[in-house]
Symmetry: C2
C-alpha cells in the first residue's frame, strides 16, 4: 500500500494514449486528475453530505476536516457500515503502508490522521499492514532494508496517536503464514493471471511475486486472517480508508469475497495529496523539494513553501488585487484545506485571498506556521516512540478491549 505516489506529468509520459492513468503504483495525468471520471471508471460512489450528516449523528462529533473538505470523497458500502453501526454491529479498520522511504512526507500522514479519527470516533479496532514484501519486490530493496524501513515507518505511524489497545501493526515478512497464508491461497485461487493483467496491467515480464502480491494486500480485509483478534467473528465487516489509487486491489478483493463466503470490505477513499509544484507536478521521493517531510525543519518548510509551492497568485500585486488568486491551482490554499482545522479561518482566507486582498506571501506565511506546527507536533510525538512501543503494537496478541 502506498498513499502518495509519483504523479507523472505529460512531459514524463509522452506518447501515452490515456488522458490519465491511475494504478496502485502510478498516477499519471495530462492535467489535473479527473476524480469524477475515476469514480465512474472504478465504479465507486461519491461520499455525499447525507453520509457526513450520519457520521456526525452516529459519532456525536464534528466529522474530520478530511470529510468536511472532501479529501475523502468516494466510498464503497460506507453506508452499509453506518447502517450496521447504527444497529449496534461493530466493524474493524484496515489500512497500510508500503515502507519505501525512511521519512514520511505529509501525504503519507493523510490516511493515518484520518484513520486515527475513525478509530477514536467509532471506537473500533484497526489493523495496519506494512507491505515490506511489496517494497522489496517493487523497489528492489533488500529484505533487510525493507524490514528496517517498515519498523521506522511504524514509529511514524504510532506517533499519529493510535490506541495500542485497539491497534495491531504487522509487517508481511513477520506476519504472513498460518491463517493469513491460507486466506492468501484462497484468494489467489479465485484470480487468474489474465485478471491481474486486466486490473493492474502486469505483463509477462513482471515477476511472479508481483503477480501474486494482490492476494497479500487483499486478505487483511477478512477477519479470519487475524485469529488472535477476531476468533469466530467471520462476519465482522472491514472498512478500508485509503487513497483512491488502491481501489483496484479492493475491487478485486470484493469480487472474490462472496466466492469465499466472506463479506466484502467497505472503502472510504481520498484524493491524492498534491506535490508542492502543483497538482500536475511530480511528487517524488527522489526530489526532496517536491514534498514536505516530517523530518523537515522550520527553515526547510519555510524555504520549500516560499520557493516551490505553486501559487495561484497573479504576476504583479496590481493584477493580484484586481483578479484575486486562482484557488483552483493554488497549492498553499490546497495544503491549508488539508491541514487547517478552523473552518472559519479557511473560509476567511478563501475570501480574502480569492478576492486579492490577501497576498501570496501572506498565505504562504500562514501555511508555514500550520505545517511547522504539525511537523513539530509529529516530531515530538515520534521522539517518544520507543522500540518497546513498536514491539507492543506489533505483538501478535488479543485486543480484549478493542470495541470499548
Amino acid at each position: 500500500m502506498e498513499y502518495a505516489k509519483e504523479i507523472v506529468t505529460e512531459e514524463q509520459k509522452k506518447g501515452e494514449e490515456e488522458e490519465q492513468v491511475v494504478t496502485p503504483w502510478e498516477v499519471a495525468s495530462k492535467g489535473k486528475i479527473d476524480y469524477d471520471k475515476l469514480i465512474v471508471e472504478f465504479g465507486c460512489q461519491r461520499l455525499d453530505q447525507s453520509l457526513l450528516d450520519r457520521v456526525f449523528k452516529l459519532t456525536n462529533r464534528q466529522p474530520h476536516v478530511f470529510l468536511r473538505r472532501n479529501v475523502f470523497f468516494a466510498h464503497r458500502d460506507f453506508n452499509e457500515i453506518l447502517d450496521a453501526y447504527e444497529r449496534g454491529e461493530k466493524f474493524y479498520l484496515y489500512t497500510g503502508r508500503g515502507p519505501s522511504s525512511e521519512a514520511l512526507h505529509l501525504g503519507h500522514l493523510v490516511p493515518f490522521m484520518f484513520t486515527k479519527y475513525l478509530q477514536d470516533a467509532f471506537k473500533v479496532p484497526l489493523v495496519i499492514q506494512l507491505t515490506d514484501d511489496e517494497k522489496c519486490m517493487w523497489k528492489n530493496l533488500s529484505v533487510e532494508e525493507s524490514e528496517r524501513l517498515a519498523r521506522e515507518n511504524a514509529k511514524d505511524i504510532i506517533a499519529c496517536g493510535f490506541d495500542v489497545s485497539r491497534t495491531f501493526i504487522f509487517s508481511d515478512f513477520d506476519y504472513v503464514g498460518g491463517a493469513f497464508y491460507k486466506n492468501m491461497v484462497k484468494v489467489a485461487k479465485c484470480v487468474t493471471y489474465n485478471k491481474v493483467h486486466g486490473i493492474f496491467g502486469f505483463t509477462g515480464e513482471d515477476h511472479i511475486g508481483k503477480v501474486f502480491f494482490p492476494a497479500v494486500q487483499a486478505v487483511p480485509s477478512f477477519p479470519s486472517s487475524f485469529p488472535h483478534l477476531f476468533p469466530g467473528q467471520d462476519k465482522l465487516r472491514c472498512l478500508v480508508p485509503c487513497a483512491i489509487d488502491q481501489d483496484p486491489y479492493f475491487r478485486m478483493t470484493r469480487d472474490v469475497a462472496p466466492r469465499l463466503g466472506y463479506s466484502k470490505p467497505a472503502l472510504i477513499e481520498s484524493l491524492f495529496f498534491p506535490a508542492l509544484q502543483g497538482e500536475t507536478g511530480k511528487m517524488s521521493a527522489s526530489d526532496a523539494n517536491s514534498a514536505i517531510y516530517v523530518t523537515d525543519s522550520y527553515k526547510d518548510i519555510q524555504t520549500k513553501v516560499n520557493r516551490y509551492a505553486f501559487s495561484g497568485g497573479r504576476e504583479s500585486v496590481e493584477k493580484h488585487r484586481e483578479l484575486g488568486a486562482n484557488l483552483e491551482v493554488d497549492i498553499p490554499f490546497k495544503y491549508l484545506s488539508f491541514f487547517l482545522d478552523d473552518d472559519e479561518e479557511l473560509e476567511h482566507i478563501r475570501e480574502e485571498y480569492g478576492s486579492g486582498r490577501m497576498l501570496t506571501g501572506d498565505i504562504k506565511g500562514r501555511l508555514v506556521e500550520v505545517l511547522s506546527e504539525l511537523v513539530e507536533r509529529h516530531r515530538a510525538a515520534r521522539a517518544l516512540v520507543t522500540d518497546e512501543m513498536v514491539d507492543a503494537f506489533m505483538a501478535v496478541r488479543p485486543l480484549p478491549n478493542m470495541f470499548k
Copy 2:
C-alpha cells in the same frame, strides 16, 4: 510435490504434437517414456556406476536397491555432494509430497523409502515439505481438507521409519512465514511470468496461486529457510531426491540460487513408478485398480495383480515356453525390480521367466507375496504412529544431533 502422477496414454491425448510431455503435474507419452531424451531435454546427468561405487565406499554399505536397479537414474551435482561429504562436509536432504489423497500407493512410497536410506547411510538431516497449499490450489480441495490429508500422509511418511532426531516435516499452511516467506519473495523476484510460462506451461487462465507456487517449492532448497535447523549454515548444500518430473522446479531454483548468493540444490532423480496396466497406462487416483495402495488387503493385492498387472507373458503356455516373457513390458517383473531386495533371486527370475521356464502365474504369485509383505509391514508401522508422533516430527524445533 507429487511423485507418482497420472500417465496419460495416446488415447487420452489425441491431437498432442509432442511425443511425450513431462511436467510436475502431467506425464503423457505416446509410448514408453524416453528417459534418455528427458535427460538431454532437462540437462541433467546419468547416475553412473562410478557414482554408485563412491556411494558404497563412502557409506560403507550396499547401495539401495533403487540405486542398484537404476530406479534413481539421473542427478544434478550429486558428485559434488559426494566430494563435499568425502571432505567431511555435511549436507541436508529435502523431499516432499503433495497431499492429494488419503491413502498412498506404492509409487508414493518410492521416494520416501529411498530418502530414508539416504538419511541412514549418510546420517544427515531431512526436511519434508507437505504442499497442502499446492493441492488446495490444483485439486480444488478446501484448505481444511488439504490440511487433513497432509497430516494423514505425514503418518504414512513417518511409518517409513524416519529418525525424529534428524527429520522435520512441515506443511506449507503451517510453516510458510518469516524466514521461509522472505526466501519465497527473494525467489519470486528473480522469476518472471514468462519464465514460469516457459518452464511449467502456465497460461493466462491459470490463477495467480499457481503462478507463484514454484517459489514455495523452491525455498526448502535453501538452509536459511529453516533458521531453527540451520542457523548460520547458509552454505550447507541440499540434496533433493525426487522423481524426474520435479526437475523443472529445481532447474528454476538452481537458476535463481547464485543470484541470491545461495548454493544450488543437488538432485537425485528417479523413474516414474509404472501403473499396473503397464508403462503407458494411466495410474490414476480415481481408478483404484491402477495401483496398489498401502491400505489394500492381501486379497485386494492378489486380485489386482492377477487381474490387472500387465503381463509380458505369451498368449499360450506353448508360445510362452518357446519365446519367454517380454520383460520390457512385464509389470510383475518391473514391480519386483523395485521391491524385491534380493539381487540373486531377481536375476534368477529374470532368467527363468525371460526364458519361458517360469510362467506368468508364478511371477505374479511371487509379486503378491512381496507386495503383501511390504504393505503389511507398512500398515503395522503406520498403526503405531500416534498424533503425538506427528506433532513431534512437525514441531518447529532445533535438531541438535542431526549430523550424528
